[in-house]
């Protein structure tokens, strides 16, 4: 991936977030370039999810600025902003009373797309995430965990957003399904080149999927490294992670897919 000379797609500028007397995030600076998969890695409570929610304005920073395509995301219409950003969470959050088709097609529908275009888009997306066409008429409770998460990804992609925010999307899946979805994510990303911010606490996943890894601890950004650099890093926290995950990490590292 060539270094983008253009403005970063997402930029955190001196962002702090405080809630109920707790400093969740402080002095956070980070740039996410177009087409990269930036992984936010850290333990629970390190501020990963908070950072993600600051991007689609589910949370507002206490101070500092979050810029999307060079414009502070606090300006302008928050609903527009969110519809231009795909959002995938660990619990998926599919609407249980909607079929798969209505789940995927919801944003296009409220955006006023004609019905036949929505239907075509849903079919296209089902194929993209590796589900058969007849899944369209099923309800979420009729799907397995992996299938649900595939629908979750398809739904996030529905209106073809430039940015994808993923909050431990594969965290609740069994190891085999997780492996499968990670592999498909890589293939998908190679095709779609979305700008992805991916939250995980799993170093193996971070090494495998990320083009860069932003290591977080106690609400602060520790360092940003490529998967290669991460493995060889002398940073005490990074090497602690590498030690904790033990042998065989070498083979996980994303060697750059293009």
């Amino acid at each position: 991936m060539e270094p983008a000379a253009a403005i970063p797609v997402i930029e955190f500028r001196d962002v702090s977030y405080r809630v109920a007397g707790t400093q969740v995030l402080s002095g956070f600076n980070l740039q996410v370039e177009s087409g990269e998969t930036l992984v936010l890695l850290g333990r629970s409570g390190s501020g990963k999810t908070t950072s993600l929610k600051l991007v689609n304005r589910l949370l507002s920073p206490t101070s500092g600025d979050v810029l999307v395509n060079g414009v502070s995301n606090g300006e302008g219409d928050v609903i527009r902003l969110r519809r231009s950003i795909g959002y995938v969470i660990q619990d998926v959050g599919l609407f249980p009373h909607f079929t798969v088709e209505r789940n995927i097609g919801l944003v296009p529908k409220i955006e006023g797309w004609p019905a036949n275009r929505i239907r075509a888009r849903v079919q296209e997306l089902l194929q993209t995430v590796g589900l058969a066409a007849d899944f369209a008429s099923r309800y979420p409770h009729q799907l397995s965990g992996g299938q649900r998460q595939r629908v979750g990804v398809a739904r996030a992609l529905a209106a073809d957003p430039e940015i994808l925010l993923m909050d431990e999307p594969f965290g609740a899946l069994d190891p085999l399904t997780r492996d499968e979805l990670q592999r498909e994510f890589l293939a998908l990303q190679q095709r779609l080149h979305k700008t992805v911010v991916f939250v995980t606490h799993d170093l193996r996943e971070a090494l495998r999927l990320g083009s860069r890894i932003a290591l977080m601890e106690a609400g602060q950004l520790v360092t940003v490294l490529s998967p290669r650099e991460f493995l060889e890093s002398s940073d005490p926290l990074a090497s602690a992670y590498v030690r904790a995950f033990g042998e065989g990490l070498e083979s996980s590292a994303n060697r750059g897919t293009s």
Binding site: G93, F95, P96
Partner: protein, 210 residues
């Protein structure tokens, strides 16, 4: 059986009082839904207010119905017509189960679903009408069901202030010490409660999200 012969002989009056009864229950339930559901939604979204609102509805519920009818009698506009007063009092009684179940139903919607919806860019109104209410509807309706059954019972007391309904027979029977007349009011009231319970229950199942 005497009771049924009595009901048959007086069938037109039984029918008339049943319809009166139905009108009291119907209007008050609709009013209670019109007030209670929005109130329940409001306190589900602003939990700060849930205690005072639910406590007030609770207190109203504890006032004995006969006493409540009595208390309201001197109230200017309300006391002028007994039917108006009865509908108002029945509405107050129906509020608690409706508010409480709306609150519980909306709070019971999986937070992940709401967050996903908000993150996708649904407006608060779209979230309410496309996600929260459809998912809460069966819980809300089971509150309406409880309210209707309570109302059918309490509405018999409305006859004490001259608002009509099947309570007419009951009070008349009590005065005459004639069980036939009491039952001529009580049986249709019981049937009304069962039918209403069944009807709303059916609706509840029909609208249940999968």
């Amino acid at each position: 059986m005497n009771v049924f012969r009595f009901i048959l002989q007086n069938h037109s009056q039984v029918l008339e009082l049943t319809l009166e009864h139905l009108r009291l229950v119907g209007f008050s339930t609709l009013l209670a839904m019109a007030v209670g559901i929005p109130l329940g939604i409001a306190i589900a979204h602003r939990p700060r207010f849930n205690k005072p609102v639910l406590a007030s509805a609770n207190i109203i519920q504890t006032i004995p119905s006969l006493a409540l009818f009595g208390f309201l009698l001197p109230v200017p506009w309300l006391g002028e017509r007994s039917e108006r007063l009865a509908i108002f009092a029945l509405t107050l009684y129906a509020l608690l189960p409706i508010i409480r179940n709306t609150y519980t139903g909306i709070r019971g919607v999986d937070p992940a679903v709401v967050e996903a919806g908000r993150g996708m860019g649904l407006t608060e109104l779209q979230l309410l009408f496309q996600v929260e209410l459809p998912l809460a509807v069966s819980v809300i309706l089971s509150g309406v069901r409880v309210a209707v059954v309570i109302s059918v019972g309490v509405a018999t007391i409305a006859a004490a202030i001259g608002a009509g309904g099947l309570g007419e027979f009951i009070f008349r029977g009590l005065a005459m010490v004639d069980n036939r007349v009491i039952l001529a009011g009580a049986i249709p009231a019981a049937i009304l409660a069962l039918v209403a319970d069944f009807g709303v229950g059916w609706l509840e199942r029909r609208l249940q999200p999968r």
